[in-house]
C-alpha cells in the first residue's frame, strides 16, 4: 500500500510537471490550432534565464530569497518576450498559410533556439540550485514526497485555476475563445485578433517560464535540450486531456504521470514510454478527442 502511495505521489509530481508545460501548449493550440513545437524551448529559455540571473546575483552576495524572486520574475519576463517575438517572426506571417507550413516553421524555431542556447552558453549540463528549502512540516514524509514536489503541485493547481478564470470570465478570455473559433467573425465583433494571439503566446510563455524554474530546481540541472523531451511529453499530455482544454491539460498530465509511474513500478521502466503511448492510443480510441476535449463533430 505504501508502495502504491509512493508511486501515486511520484506520478502526481511528474504529471504536474507535464501539466505546467502542457498548459501553455494547449492554450496556444487552442487559439491558432498550431502545435507550437518551440514551446519546450521557451520553457528551456526560462530556466536558463533564471539560472543566469541567479548566478549573477549570487556572486554579488544578495539575500537568497530576493535572488529567487528576482530570478523568477526575470525568467517570466524573458520567456514572455521570447514567446512574443517567436509569434511575430515565425507564425504571424503564416496566419493564412497551410497549417503544416506553420508546423515546420515551429520546428525550425525549435532547432534554432536549441542551438542558439547551445552556442551562446554551453552544451554541458549545468547544476541548477534547489531554490525551494526543505519545509519543516513535511520532513517526516520526506521519503514519500519532497517540498519541491509540493510546491510544483500547488503551483500547477493555482496556475490552472487562474488561467481558467481568466479565460472563462474576463473580457480578454472571451476574446480568446472567440478568436479561436472564428477569426473573421471575432474581428467583426471588434476584437483585435493580433493582440489577442500575441497575448495568448505571452500567457503561455509565462506559464512555461514558471514551469521552467520549478522543474529545473526539481531536477537540479539543465541543458539546452531539456525543452524538447519535456515538450513532446507535454504535447502528449495536452492531447490526452483534449487539446485546447485547460483542465484537460492538467488532467492529461496527471494521467500520463501516473501511467508512467505505475508502469515503471509494477511492470518495468524499460517499457515506460511504450505503456504511456499505448494508454494514449487506448484513450483516444474510446474518446477520440481526449478525456475532456469537446467533440469536434460539426452539425451537417
Amino acid at each position: 500500500m505504501d508502495y502504491f502511495l509512493e508511486l501515486f505521489l511520484g506520478g502526481l509530481t511528474r504529471g504536474s510537471i507535464y501539466a505546467l508545460i502542457a498548459l501553455g501548449y494547449t492554450m496556444v493550440y487552442g487559439i491558432i490550432q498550431l502545435i507550437n513545437f518551440a514551446h519546450g524551448e521557451i520553457y528551456m529559455i526560462g530556466a536558463f534565464t533564471a539560472l543566469i540571473v541567479i548566478s549573477v546575483l549570487m556572486s554579488t552576495g544578495m539575500n537568497p530569497v530576493a535572488v529567487i524572486l528576482i530570478a523568477g520574475f526575470v525568467a517570466v519576463i524573458y520567456s514572455c518576450a521570447y514567446g512574443f517575438t517567436l509569434e511575430k517572426i515565425a507564425y504571424k506571417p503564416l496566419r493564412n498559410a497551410p497549417r503544416l507550413s506553420a508546423l515546420i516553421s515551429a520546428i525550425g524555431m525549435s532547432l534554432f533556439l536549441q542551438n542558439y542556447v547551445l552556442l551562446a552558453q554551453t552544451c554541458d549540463f549545468l547544476p541548477f540550485p534547489n531554490l525551494i528549502p526543505d519545509f519543516e512540516c513535511i520532513e517526516p514524509f520526506a521519503h514519500i514526497i519532497g517540498s519541491t514536489d509540493v510546491v510544483i503541485l500547488v503551483t500547477t493547481a493555482v496556475v490552472m485555476i487562474i488561467l481558467t478564470i481568466l479565460i472563462r470570465y474576463t473580457k480578454i478570455g472571451k476574446a480568446m475563445r472567440a478568436t479561436s473559433q472564428d477569426r473573421v467573425m471575432a474581428s467583426l465583433m471588434g476584437i483585435d485578433v493580433n493582440t489577442v494571439i500575441s497575448f495568448t503566446f505571452i500567457l503561455g510563455s509565462a506559464t512555461a517560464a514558471i514551469g521552467g524554474v520549478l522543474i529545473a530546481s526539481h531536477i537540479g540541472m539543465i541543458n539546452f535540450y531539456i525543452g524538447f523531451i519535456a515538450g513532446i511529453k507535454a504535447f502528449v499530455a495536452a492531447v490526452l486531456g483534449g487539446i485546447g482544454s485547460l483542465p484537460g491539460a492538467v488532467l492529461g498530465g496527471f494521467v500520463l504521470g501516473w501511467t508512467e509511474s505505475f508502469a515503471t513500478g509494477y511492470i518495468s521502466s524499460d517499457y515506460e514510454d511504450v505503456f504511456a503511448f499505448l494508454f494514449l492510443v487506448l484513450i483516444l480510441i474510446f474518446k477520440p478527442s481526449g478525456i475532456l476535449g469537446r467533440s469536434e463533430q460539426s452539425k451537417v
Binding site: 529559455i45 539560472l51 549570487m58 517572426i89 507550413s101 520546428i107 551562446a120 549545468l126 504535447f235 494514449l280
Partner: protein, 403 residues
C-alpha cells in the same frame, strides 16, 4: 521622412533584440566554477546585426505581399508560359535526357563522399514521396513514419543475420512488412482527426523504437546489428567503393519506380478520393467513399515505401541500431514533404535534396550548422509557405472533345 521612420523602426527592433538576447548572449555563467563572464561584444553584434536584418526582413515581407498580389495577376500568363514550356516535347525530352545523363555519370565525376550523400538524399526522396501520399495527398499528419522505416531496416538486418538472405530477396519483404504494419497501426487510429492522429502516430513511432531498444533477444538492443551485407551484383561481393556506386544506381532505379507509381496513383480514382477526403470528409462519405478503407490504403501505401527505404538504408549503412529511428527522423521527412511542396513530386524531390544535402554542405559552418538549418526552415516557410514548388495538382480539365 519615410526613410527616417524606417530607420527608427529598425532601431527599435535592434533595441528589442538587444534586450531579448541580453542574458543569453552577453552573460555566460559557469555555475561549476561560479564565474560570470560578460561578453559585451556580442551585444554590439546583435544590435548591429538585427538593425540591418530588420530592413531586409521588412523589405522581403513587403515584397512577398506585393508579390502575392502581382503574381496572381500574372499567374495565368505565367502558367500558360510554363505550360507551353512543359508541353513543348523537345524541351521535355531534352531535359529528361540531360537529367538522365547527369544522374548516370554522377558517381564518376564527383568524389565518393558526394555519391554517398547523394544516395542518402535519394533514400529520402523515396521516403518523402511515400510520406507525400499520406500527408500531401490524403492529408493525414503522420509523425511516426519512421516506424515503418525501422521495420524495413530491421527486416533486412535480421533476415540477413539469421538466414543470410540478400538485399534483393528482402526488398519486397520489407515493402510488404511496411504495408502490413501500416494497416495494423492504421486500423485503430485512422478515425482520429488531424493532430490527434499526429500524436498517436508519433507514439507508434516511439513504441517501435523502444521495442527495438529494449528487446535484446530479438533486436540486439541498442548495440544494434552490424556487418549487414551490401547488395550483391550477380553474386559478386563489391568493395566499399564500388558498392557505394552500385547503391547509388539502385537508388536511382528505385526512385524512378517510386516516381512512376506515385504519379500514377495521384492521377487515379484512388488518388482523387484521397484529395477529396482531405477537403471534406462528410461530403466524401455522401459520395459513397469508404473513409476508413481509403485512408488505410493511403497509410499502407505510404508505409510500403518506408519499408523499402528501410531495407536500402540497412544495406547502405551496413549497420542498424535504434538510434537511427528517433522522432527527429520523422520530422525531417515531414520537413521534406512540406518544404518541397505538399502533393508535388518535383517539390518533394527538391525538398529532399535541400533538407539532406544542406546540412552536409553546411558542415563548413560546423557548429552553426543546425542553427542555420533552423533559420532556413523558418525563412523558407515564411516566404514560401506553400513550399518551394507549391503543389499544383494536376487538375482534370475538360478539353471539349465533341460528344
Amino acid at each position: 521622412m519615410r526613410k527616417f521612420a524606417e530607420i527608427r523602426k529598425s532601431l527599435y527592433v535592434a533595441l528589442w533584440f538587444i534586450f531579448l538576447t541580453f542574458p543569453i548572449m552577453v552573460i555566460r555563467i559557469n555555475p561549476l566554477e561560479k564565474t560570470v563572464e560578460w561578453r559585451w561584444m556580442n551585444m554590439a553584434l546583435v544590435g548591429i546585426g538585427t538593425f540591418f536584418l530588420s530592413f531586409l526582413w521588412r523589405y522581403l515581407i513587403s515584397k512577398k505581399e506585393e508579390g502575392s498580389k502581382r503574381a496572381e495577376e500574372k499567374q495565368n500568363e505565367k502558367i500558360s508560359k510554363l505550360r507551353r514550356l512543359i508541353e513543348n516535347r523537345k524541351i521535355i525530352a531534352g531535359s529528361v535526357v540531360a537529367g538522365a545523363l547527369l544522374a548516370a555519370v554522377f558517381p564518376f565525376v564527383v568524389s565518393l563522399y558526394q555519391t554517398n550523400i547523394m544516395t542518402t538524399a535519394l533514400i529520402y526522396v523515396m521516403l518523402g514521396l511515400g510520406l507525400n501520399i499520406v500527408v500531401g495527398l490524403a492529408g493525414l499528419l503522420d509523425l511516426g513514419y519512421v516506424a515503418f522505416y525501422a521495420v524495413g531496416a530491421y527486416a533486412y538486418a535480421l533476415l540477413n543475420y539469421h538466414f543470410g538472405l540478400n538485399f534483393w530477396m528482402v526488398l519486397p519483404v520489407g515493402a510488404a512488412l511496411g504495408a502490413l504494419f501500416g494497416i495494423l497501426l492504421g486500423f485503430p487510429v485512422l478515425r482520429l482527426r488531424g493532430d490527434y492522429l499526429a500524436i498517436v502516430t508519433l507514439g507508434f513511432g516511439e513504441i517501435i523504437r523502444l521495442i527495438l531498444e529494449n528487446w535484446n533477444e530479438f533486436s540486439f538492443g541498442p548495440s544494434g546489428i552490424s556487418n549487414i551485407s551490401r547488395p550483391p551484383l550477380f553474386g559478386i561481393e563489391l568493395s566499399v567503393q564500388n558498392a557505394t556506386v552500385y547503391m547509388y544506381y539502385i537508388m536511382i532505379f528505385l526512385c524512378l519506380v517510386t516516381i512512376f507509381i506515385v504519379k500514377r496513383l495521384q492521377d487515379s480514382r484512388i488518388g482523387r478520393a484521397w484529395v477529396a477526403l482531405r477537403e471534406d470528409e462528410v461530403a466524401c462519405q455522401a459520395m459513397g467513399i469508404d473513409r476508413t478503407k481509403t485512408k488505410l490504403t493511403a497509410f499502407a501505401l505510404g508505409a510500403t515505401w518506408a519499408g523499402m527505404g528501410g531495407v536500402v538504408f540497412a544495406a547502405k549503412t551496413t549497420f542498424v541500431n535504434p538510434a537511427s529511428f528517433t522522432i527527429w527522423e520523422s520530422i525531417i521527412i515531414l520537413c521534406i514533404v512540406v518544404l518541397g511542396g505538399m502533393g508535388s513530386v518535383i517539390g518533394v524531390i527538391t525538398g529532399a535534396f535541400i533538407i539532406i544535402l544542406l546540412p552536409e554542405y553546411l558542415r563548413v559552418f560546423s557548429e552553426f550548422r543546425m542553427l542555420m538549418f533552423g533559420i532556413i526552415l523558418v525563412v523558407m516557410m515564411v516566404f514560401r509557405p506553400g513550399g518551394i514548388i507549391s503543389g499544383v495538382r494536376r487538375t482534370y480539365k475538360f478539353e471539349g472533345k465533341n460528344f
